[in-house]
């Protein structure tokens, strides 16, 4: 009995990072070059299987992968009691977002981390985090979700504490660990509610048997709070600026990607599993409130920062708000005529913003990492004149910065325009808040640009390694592609994702 290799791709997306995570410390004992080679081969193979899965989903359609079955793609009733993975348009959107950032960050790490020793463990943790996030977005089993949630938390906690000679890093990691453990245990608690009530853990079976009893609402509320906490939404954002700014420069975008992964899981659960059992407007309005709070508080807290990495960290919190607000508007209008009129566009805009955000946030964090590498300070008041010595990094920062602010030709604009237009029809105030936050974001990007790059050459810049330039270049190319063909991205990647969640018009 032979199963098509393409249909096995979901498990390879998970398996390759796990296998290579355990291989890197062994390769590290042989030589540094071999370790780097093993690491990058692992990343690229994962990327290959992500694209194979995407190809298969777009040509054949979605399928369920059953672990431990003789034929993993044939679904029977019994197989629902096993661990299952769901490969569909939404999983493709999520895995694509994650893998683009992961490859960029991976290449960047070669140059950025080359002065540190014991990197075998660093790459192991990196690949374990990748496996954890991939598992989170691919799984269709609640208990399995908890397992991958914990894998991600533990591995990324190790990454945040990597510079353990600095007290701040250890503090940030401790904070992250406490938040993650609380979140993980509460997630297990809420999964217990579902299991106790229905005796099943599979997304499909829970969706079919859910009746919207009080205990369901309680469990759904818990799950939503936990996943928004991990997605660094205000008011549960306190861990994010610390963790983002104290993690090694090359890893920060990857920690941000784990937040985005939690957001993907949240959207998968509310649309795919909980949709039938709840009043759409209640969850929708909760998401809108969390989103508006994140947008506004995130950007206001960014105003007073002088640490450049912390500033970007707060901006990233505020970007999470856009996605939550847009998807919240979409969810609130579910089942009404408004959904067809503008709700679906709001969801499209939210999802498009997620993939955009993954890429431009990575580019911003990485170019800021370049500044810190070259000038050895993060204080905006001490930086200056770097454009003279770092023309490439300056260019990449401009691309990323204009994209996060939503300036017309760039990809951030396309997704934000979709959000503004649709959210305006739901409630004009929301669109106005979103616009104001965008303007403040632009001002903040201008502040970093003027402080760090413009001005007389202070001769503090030192050459940054070529691999850092290369990775930022790759991310810039992806942003440019998204900017040039936004309609294509929406129709080819976002629309199948919405269809997979069962809410296409």
């Amino acid at each position: 009995m032979n199963v098509d290799l393409l249909l096995q791709s979901p498990v390879f997306i998970l398996g390759i990072p796990l296998l290579f995570a355990f291989l890197t410390p062994l390769a590290d004992k042989v030589s540094k070059e071999l370790r780097n080679a093993v690491f990058i081969i692992g990343l690229l193979l994962t990327a290959l299987f992500v694209s194979l899965m995407a190809y298969e989903v777009y040509t054949i359609g979605s399928w369920t992968y059953v672990f431990g079955a003789e034929d993993p793609t044939a679904i029977t009733d019994v197989s629902f009691f096993r661990i299952t993975f769901l490969a569909d348009g939404f999983a493709v959107l999520a895995t694509l977002t994650i893998i683009i950032t992961a490859v960029g960050v991976g290449i960047y790490s070669f140059g950025n981390m080359k002065d540190f020793d014991d990197l075998g463990k660093f790459y192991t943790l990196f690949l374990l985090t990748l496996a954890g996030v991939m598992g989170m977005v691919l799984t269709s089993d609640l208990f399995n979700l908890f397992v991958w949630f914990e894998v991600t938390s533990i591995a990324s906690c190790g990454l945040i504490a990597y510079h353990n000679e600095r007290g701040e890093s250890v503090e940030a990691a401790l904070k992250y660990m406490i938040i993650s453990v609380i979140a993980g245990l509460l997630l297990l608690f809420s999964i217990g509610f579902f299991y106790g009530e229905y005796g099943v853990l599979n997304y499909f079976l829970i969706r079919d048997s859910m009746d919207g009893a009080f205990i369901d609402i309680l469990a759904i509320g818990l799950v939503m709070v936990i996943l928004s906490m991990k997605a660094s939404s205000v008011p549960m954002h306190m861990w994010a600026p610390d963790a983002y700014s104290e993690a090694p420069d090359s890893i920060t975008p990857f920690i941000a990607i784990t937040s985005l992964g939690s957001l993907f899981v949240l959207f998968r659960l509310i649309f795919f599993v909980f949709r039938g059992a709840v009043e759409p407007s209640s969850i929708g309005n909760l998401l809108i409130i969390l989103g508006v709070l994140s947008m506004f508080v995130g950007v206001s807290m960014a105003l007073k920062q002088s640490d450049v990495k912390r500033l970007i960290a707060y901006l990233s919190v505020s970007q999470i708000g856009y996605m939550m607000m847009a998807v919240g508007v979409g969810f609130a209008t579910l089942g009404t005529a408004d959904y067809g009129a503008f709700g679906v566009n709001a969801v499209e805009g939210g999802f498009f913003h997620m993939i955009n955000d993954g890429v431009y946030k990575a580019l911003l964090f990485l170019s800021v990492g370049g500044i810190i590498y070259a000038a050895d300070t993060r204080d905006l008041n001490r930086l200056g004149g770097l454009a003279h010595s770092m023309p490439f990094t300056t260019f990449f920062f401009i691309i990323g910065g204009l994209s996060i602010a939503g300036i017309p030709p760039l990809s951030g604009f396309s997704s934000k325009l979709l959000i503004y237009k649709s959210v305006y029809l739901y409630n004009p105030v929301l669109a106005i808040i979103a616009l104001v936050v965008s303007i403040v974001t632009l001002a903040l990007i201008g502040k970093i640009f003027f402080n760090a790059f413009l001005g007389p050459d202070q001769k503090i810049g030192m050459k940054i390694p070529r691999s850092m330039i290369l990775s930022m270049g790759v991310l810039t190319v992806i942003i440019v592609i998204f900017s040039l063909f936004p309609n294509y991205v929406v129709s080819e990647i976002i629309a199948p994702a919405i269809e997979a969640l069962g809410v296409a018009v």
């Binding site: 032979n2 096995q8 398996g15 296998l19 034929d71 993993p72």
Partner: protein, 154 residues
């Protein structure tokens, strides 16, 4: 700093290590037949490390060997999981079960506990045992070293 225990303790510890290790290996090898398995057996074997560290207060610097053993165990575990995948089934599929050979035998009814059964499960127990022995010993080693109750011989 002299952290050695008395000669009685050291002698008894040296003697007790043998049955502890044997019992741990028994648990690992019989994981698919009786309660126990790779993790439990590995933890039992690693407890002998704790005994030796407490009794002798000194140990050779074998951190690298332990961490190599850990990575090898994990890699082998995953490769075993992928055997099912390569044979055309799913990940973790027990493709060796019932094929004959050293771990491929079948059992039926009440039996005295044939160890050469279970397909990939006993093999996975062995590599998990290897990983757990190495990892827990490493943790004990590091904790003892940091707390100053262990002298490391180069």
């Amino acid at each position: 700093m002299n952290v050695k225990m008395s000669v009685v303790v050291r002698t008894v510890a040296d003697i007790m290590v043998v049955p502890i290790v044997v019992f741990g290996i028994y648990l690992i090898l019989h994981g698919h037949l009786t309660p126990g398995g790779g993790f439990q057996g590995g933890a039992v074997v690693a407890s002998s490390t704790a005994l030796l560290i407490v009794a002798h207060g000194a140990m050779k610097d074998n951190k690298t060997d332990l961490s190599n053993m850990e990575s090898t165990g994990l890699t082998l575990f995953f490769l075993l999981a992928m055997v099912g995948l390569i044979m055309g089934f799913s990940l973790f599929y027990n493709s060796l079960a019932g094929t004959g050979g050293i771990f491929g035998g079948t059992v039926s009814g009440i039996n005295p506990g044939y160890i050469n059964t279970g397909g990939t499960i006993p093999l996975m127990n062995i590599v998990v045992g290897m990983e757990v022995i190495a990892a827990l010993s490493l943790i004990l080693w590091m904790m003892a070293k940091r707390s100053g109750s262990l002298e490391v011989e180069k």
